[in-house]
Amino acid sequence: MTPQDAHPISSRGSGAEQIPTRMPTANRPQNAGKTVNGDTSRLESVAKVTGAAKYGRDMQAPGMVWVRGIRCPWGNARLIGHDADAAKAVPGVVDVVVTGDTGEYNGDAVGYLLAENKLALSRGLRALRARWERLPCRTGIDAREAVLSVSDKAENALLFADHVLEAEYSTPVQTHSALETHGMMIDHQGDAAVVYASTQGTFAVADEIASFLSLPRNKFEVRCEHVGGGFGAKFQIGKEGAFAGNVASSLKRPVYSFCDRKEEHLDTGNRPSALVKVRVGFSKDGTVLGGQIGVWGGVGVATRGGDAAIPSGRYEFGVIERSMTNVSFNGGAPRAMRAPGHPQGAFAEELMLDEIATIAGVDPLELRIRLDKDETKARQAMYRLGAEMIGWKDRQPTGSQSGVVRRGFGVGSTSWRALRGPCDIEIAVHRDGSAELRTGTQDIGTGQRTACAVLAAERLSIPLELVSVAIGSSRLPNGPASGGSVTSPSSAPAVLAAAADAERQLMEIVAQQIGGAGTDYRLRNGKIVRGEEAVMGWNELCRRLPSESLVGRGTWDGRGSPYFQKGNSNGVQFVEVEVDSETGVVQVKRVIAFQACGRIICRKTAESQIIGGVIQGISYALFEDKLLDRQTGAMVNPNLEWYRILGANDMPTIEPVLWMDAEQTGVRGLGEPPVVPTAGAVAAAVFNAVGTPVRSLPIRPDRVLAAVEAAAVAGVAKGGAS
């Protein structure tokens, strides 16, 4: 059964509605998307808030041994001594395994310690008395070493420019800071094991852990019922997984290996830092003619992965010469993080656009409308509607305000490729009328479980309550890893195909029982109909199943499909901020986030993705910063006290607007695009309020105060606005 055979979902049945957002009717965009289901909460929401939902981190087994890495405390150091005997003498310590003697960054592991319980683990590590000799280290990108090269092509573009903007934008290392830290519990019993992993890729973990466990694939299962956040850092098993795998296979015992908060910050990946240097020329009206853009990506001990997506390709920038350099230093290596490379690029790009607009004396929104290449014209519509919604007309010219509290507006854009991959789904229909959807892919907190259930119920035309979902197991049908925003778009066609297959089989049974051909019948509103005539109820049909259950199978190869039209998923975000010019404190007041999304399966979970992206974007803009001590290379804030993440009092009003492009009818991923433009739009808004750009994230009070002061000096120099 291919998805081509399954007719596209319609808006019939289970609470379908036309209005995708809670916006007042007057503001509702005409092409607001149709949703399959409006108000369903996550199926597991009660389990999550009551604690009944068990995460990998919650799993324990009798006789379990605990593992923790022996980690380098400094940016660069050599292990010159340790006392393994003393560590082993600590009651409960099982073993100490030291495999190396150099640490190239704070958190680098040189071995691990095993203990019967958590307390013995930390006592053992202390008794180990690892002695480290500190070596010189490098803690980040050195801006002085980043020299923008000069190319003829770019210089030619600058020749005809009325203005040239030279600027340097920088972003810090951001850690994923998932609430559930990385790790796994391997319940190793005899010649079999269950691996409870916190992962974005059930099957990827199965592939990777297999070599450690030396068990055949039919002897172990990777399970992942709930995940407390991944954001791109949980595809690989990491060191913590490798330790667990080694120990499980050698001791043949259950093993618990989860990072603590410190290890989570130090060694489970990050969004790399970036330095972007630009030298761009533009004409009097702000039209960008071209120039030079250099990106330096701070990749820790890695050698690649530091690119920042500037130019993003969304705006017309003329002739741009671009260079990219990965800068290694003594820090943890990056991993994919929610729209890898994009928020850092968009920060530089959006702020640069506002700077260009300000110099040229044009409205930055008008400039974007002019420069935006927007192939679908969706963003053009979003710009106009968003301007109305946020009250762009109240925006004061940049640098014109002199009050204590200054208001600023900013805007930024996003686009995302609609990616998808292969997926298999089974739907079992039971004699009692219930249905179980089975997919091995994982729900990383996005609502994947819920989306599958909603689609299956919709397609089978039965109440949602009848559908349960078995998810997150390598024993279940194959599904995608959750990266690149592919999970929903990959599974949706397979769910529809599986449901259609189940329907086909069911209708055959109806035909056998009451005559005619299977194709004469259809499922509708919990009944079996022939034309308009109901011939049997769903429950009655199920009771007549020849065996306990019937399984519909849907397979999708991830390629072309009637559900997908080409084009990116576009978006625009508008931001309003208030800046206290005496304290430098920035409060984001309001964010309007337009996001083209194709067909919405479940409004709540879709909006939640956008809201979450915006929150993470603001947090990146204002607070987050993995700070390495410049002398020792140790992270000084490996906790959630000084590694600040936006909290309740910092939360603006966020208004997501789900946007259906007429052409884009399929299900599209929403995980990544909403996080792209936020920080850039916040930075643009702060610039608008203050008059001098803050070109480094996070936009801390000290930086804002410096900008306020610079603006005042510039104002005096101009003899202007005092």
């Binding site: 930390s122 005496e582 910092d650 000290d702």
Partner: protein, 324 residues
């Protein structure tokens, strides 16, 4: 964390005796700070003496002019008596930490919590305060450190409450030692007078309550980088005596700028006789707050914040007056 004995004290006398006699014995109130220190391996007591099991109601009573040492920050923040007699204290308590922390953190523990310097709190840095030979903040990451004081340690005092109490001429009542009372102004010392600890209490001395002078015209302002769950970048507490619309006398104290809650006598003096609506004179007086400051490489911004925080605390106090 090492094994330790837990003594559930029945009386202050018992707690005091235990804390005095047993080596490495430590009093525990809410435990918010102590447990953090133990988990990080910075405090390694062999005995915890639980004060919270002492049932004496006086330890928890709050009345105008006196706060029991075991009263929580949440109790203080919502106490009508405190809000009327010294709004600055209630506001300070309310601004500290998070609702969850405030429900557990006690007044006594808040005063005596250890500093938050990230080198101090990370076990691996054996800095001066922990008996090592260097202050890592001097050439390291010092954006949240002190702008006053000659060192050699550059912590900022962490207690919000202490700043407000200092502005209200607070005096702690003690049990178990030789002294019956100690002014807040004398409760803490600068690092050059002892770097390993911050308070002047002797082992076994227990704070039972804190008295303060009524300050109905008092106010507070704090600047935080993040508005949820964050420490002050700079804060100011003021207590005013007014003569009509003029400041007859003022107590002005600052937090997060020095190793101890910081008195600003120059500002107090300059404020004398200034009219509440004389913007220029207020500004000039508040500008004196940074006299003698010696910022480190990354914390000079605090010198911009401090006068602003004081000015706004004065406005807050004037507002409290208006509200009466």
């Amino acid at each position: 964390m090492n094994p330790f004995a837990l003594l559930q004290a029945d009386s202050v006398a018992e707690a005091s005796a235990a804390a005095k006699d047993v080596r490495l014995s430590v009093l525990k109130a809410g435990g918010m700070d102590l447990l953090d220190l133990m988990k990080e391996g910075i405090a390694e007591p062999t005995q915890l003496v639980n004060l919270r099991t002492v049932r004496d109601p006086a330890l928890r009573t709050i009345e105008a002019g006196r706060i029991g040492a075991l009263a929580t920050l949440a109790d203080i923040a919502r106490s009508d008596a405190v809000r009327a007699s010294a709004p600055v204290i209630a506001k300070c308590a309310a601004s500290a930490a998070t609702p969850q922390v405030r429900n557990v953190a006690t007044a006594g523990g808040n005063l005596l919590q250890r500093p938050r310097c990230w080198y101090f709190r990370n076990e691996q840095f054996n800095c001066l305060k922990k008996g090592g030979s260097t202050c890592y903040a001097v050439d390291g990451e010092n954006r949240y450190h002190a702008v006053f004081g000659p060192g050699p340690c550059h912590i900022v005092h962490p207690s919000n409450l202490a700043v407000a109490l200092l502005a209200c001429d607070g005096v702690v009542s003690l049990a178990g030692g030789e002294r019956a009372t100690l002014p807040i102004a004398k409760l803490f010392h600068m690092p050059d007078r002892g770097i390993r600890d911050e308070s002047n209490l002797e082992p076994g001395e227990v704070i039972t309550s804190i008295a303060y002078s009524p300050a109905p015209v008092s106010g507070f302002f704090v600047v935080k980088e993040r508005q949820s769950f964050d420490w002050p970048l700079t804060m100011a507490a003021v207590a005013l005596k007014l003569d009509g619309r003029r400041i007859a006398s003022a107590r002005v104290c600052a937090g997060a700028v020095a190793p101890v809650p910081w008195s600003l006598p120059l500002v107090e003096k300059a404020l004398q006789g200034v009219a509440l609506d004389d913007e220029a004179a207020l500004r000039a007086a508040c500008a004196k707050s940074i006299d003698g400051a010696e910022p480190m490489r990354d914390n000079a911004y605090k010198l911009k914040l401090l006068p602003v925080a004081i000015r706004r605390a004065i406005a807050d106090a004037a507002g409290a007056k208006e509200g009466q």
